[in-house]
Symmetry: C2
């Protein structure tokens, strides 16, 4: 097993309990794991040595909420929104039509390209949802495409009721033949709990059916207005409640008490010109918070976790440290993957060498490509 | 002279009077100039042929307002601002101390690195201000560093009154020995007209002294509160009034009637958490508008015009087309350089090939590096 010493690290963010952030650090990778973390004044033996010249090193970003598999583009809807049209969940149907029309090889090429774009920008762990197929066949092939890109593939048949369908019949389809078809490919299930999408009872049916098949649970909750999504997530022991833009004090308490991770997606609020989620209320109450891109063609067509971190600081009132934690360890919690999102000994060797002396620059230098190098599973991939 | 045909351009933004934006286009570069623009169905003779596979091509960005030459970093001040501390012009003095302390070779290395970062992100024309030296020697060496990077170098001795100086004596220095020393290196003069910086009379003295030496005039105007800066710019026939965050109806009329370009810098407002400039009022009144990064370590540490375009759409209410125009042709107007910021025949062959089918993606895909290739003066530089 090859070992590599990364040394002369100006600032290392490991999220280690004792020294979560250390200056003048070094790190040893053995195979695909972090084998040692310490001071750069110590020189452990290693086969290779990389001097990062004072750069900051942070855990690879964990993007715990994306919709990367889709056809078409909604730049016209985006332009209309800039001209004043509000976002409505119905726009999803535009992408559903384009996705169904796209042959699988093209669907794969497009998703692979976006995943590569995400990796170049430092995202080493990615969740991908289906939800633009909405037929047994199209949901299955979306998840099969996702399965070539990540172990975290979430079945989101309950994204919106497809055109021409009755909601109740469609939920029967989702919880019946569709779930049956995808259960072997998906690792999690999700439902969009919102007016215009699915109500509380429908979401509960979908999510409990998925949980019964061993799938982890996520909920699209409280995005456009207050609603039952967060409480549903808490009552089902979901991994995450995503969006959480409109939450009551009871919702905040439920998140804290249940340990459900609030996955905030400020880039969606940026692109839809909506109000931002109340991150400070959540953090101050002790809720676990993640940030994610929500990459999708309708409301947030970005793969950049750096941009999300900058927005989390500017618009969500998070400190740079809280934002980086949410983009790494927070995302890992939302996906229940314990060996990513940090750089403690034993972690997967997923890390980003920044073109900056401090992680603060991720927020301080918005829009700038600050990724000097990306290492995933111990391999330099950029 | 070598000629190159760029063909299969999905969308070409040339700002040509007849067809400012055309689909399925081609373009011929001869030497460092645009020699022909037309349909991709026509195949003019050329020595080389580049097929851009349906990508959009836009003019290279013109960043008409930057402060790239400086020492140090103000990430701590940035973090304090996130914690609630408001921005004050006095922070400039921190950078002045760091700049004075930095030997010229390091000053050059740092500025060159930022200029290269800007070029990679599509900026092919750059303005650079001094203003972190504030002694004869330090202003001169800042402008000499800038002179290796751009013809657009602006003397901003009147950035702030240096610590320990009296304002009136300092203005004597700026208009006397300092101007004398830099007049051969600078192409323009600028003054920060604001409480805490310089008042109207002081700015007028500085700017008229510069104009008398043949320097073009820019004014830092109305950034933190309403003030006389915009009217001063109009009365002096300045090229631009920069910031324009707090303007009265009379200011708007003065800008329109005088033809002074309003250079808006939304990334500074993003980073300082300030109110955004009233771009719609300016545009709707018929004012010429540019957008720029204002790249500097205190209030806007970004070189990304793509990020500025995304903010101009989200926060300034500009359409993607208006934002792109402001980032190209608008910037060229602010610098009075007629052969950049567009791709009409005769223009300098400065252009960006986007990793997207339409320029709208610059706003639709915030935070994503959408630059596939950059051509400057006919040479592929990325």
């Amino acid at each position: 097993m090859t070992s590599t010493l990364l040394t002369n690290i100006g600032q290392l963010v490991s999220w280690d309990d004792e020294q979560p952030i250390r200056e003048k650090a070094a790190l040893v990778i053995e195979g695909d794991r972090v084998a040692w973390v310490g001071s750069s004044s110590v020189t452990p033996l290693a086969d290779e040595r990389i001097d990062v010249d004072g750069a900051a090193v942070v855990p690879g970003f964990v993007d715990s909420h994306t919709h990367l598999v889709f056809g078409g583009d909604r730049s016209e809807e985006f332009e209309a929104r800039l001209a004043g049209q509000p976002y409505a969940a119905g726009g999803i149907r535009t992408t559903v039509a384009a996705t169904r029309a796209l042959p699988t090889p093209q669907l794969r090429v497009r998703a692979t390209r976006l995943a590569a774009e995400a990796l170049r920008s430092g995202t080493t762990t990615l969740e991908i949802k289906s939800g633009y197929g909405l037929t047994v066949e199209d949901e299955l092939r979306s998840l099969e495409v996702a399965s070539t890109l990540t172990p975290h593939r979430t079945f989101l048949g309950a994204h919106v009721v497809p055109e021409g369908s009755d909601a109740s019949n469609y939920v029967d389809l989702v919880t019946g033949p569709m779930l049956e078809a995808v259960a072997g490919v998906a690792s999690a299930i999700d439902a969009f709990c919102e007016e215009g999408a699915f109500d509380e009872d429908q979401c509960r049916r979908v999510l409990t059916a998925g949980a019964a098949r061993g799938l982890a649970v996520h909920v699209h909750a409280n995005q456009l207005r207050p609603g039952p999504g967060v409480q549903l997530a808490a009552s089902l022991g979901a991994l995450s409640a995503d969006h959480c833009t409109h939450v009551t004090d009871e919702d905040v308490t439920a998140l804290r008490d249940s340990g459900v991770v609030a996955v905030l997606v400020p880039a969606a609020e940026f692109s839809t010109r909506s109000a931002y989620a109340p991150a400070r209320r959540l953090l101050d109450a002790g809720v676990s918070v993640a940030v994610a891109t929500d990459c999708n063609p309708g409301t947030s067509f970005t793969t950049s976790m750096g941009f999300v971190i900058a927005l989390a600081c500017r618009e969500l009132g998070m400190t740079p440290r809280e934002a980086l934690h949410a983009a790494t360890a927070g995302g890992a919690s939302a996906l229940a993957q314990r060996d990513v999102g940090h750089l403690r000994v034993g972690a997967r060797a997923d890390l980003v060498v920044l073109d900056a002396p401090s992680y603060v620059h991720l927020a301080y230098r918005p829009g700038v490509d600050l990724v000097r190098s990306v290492i995933r599973r111990g391999e330099v991939v950029r």
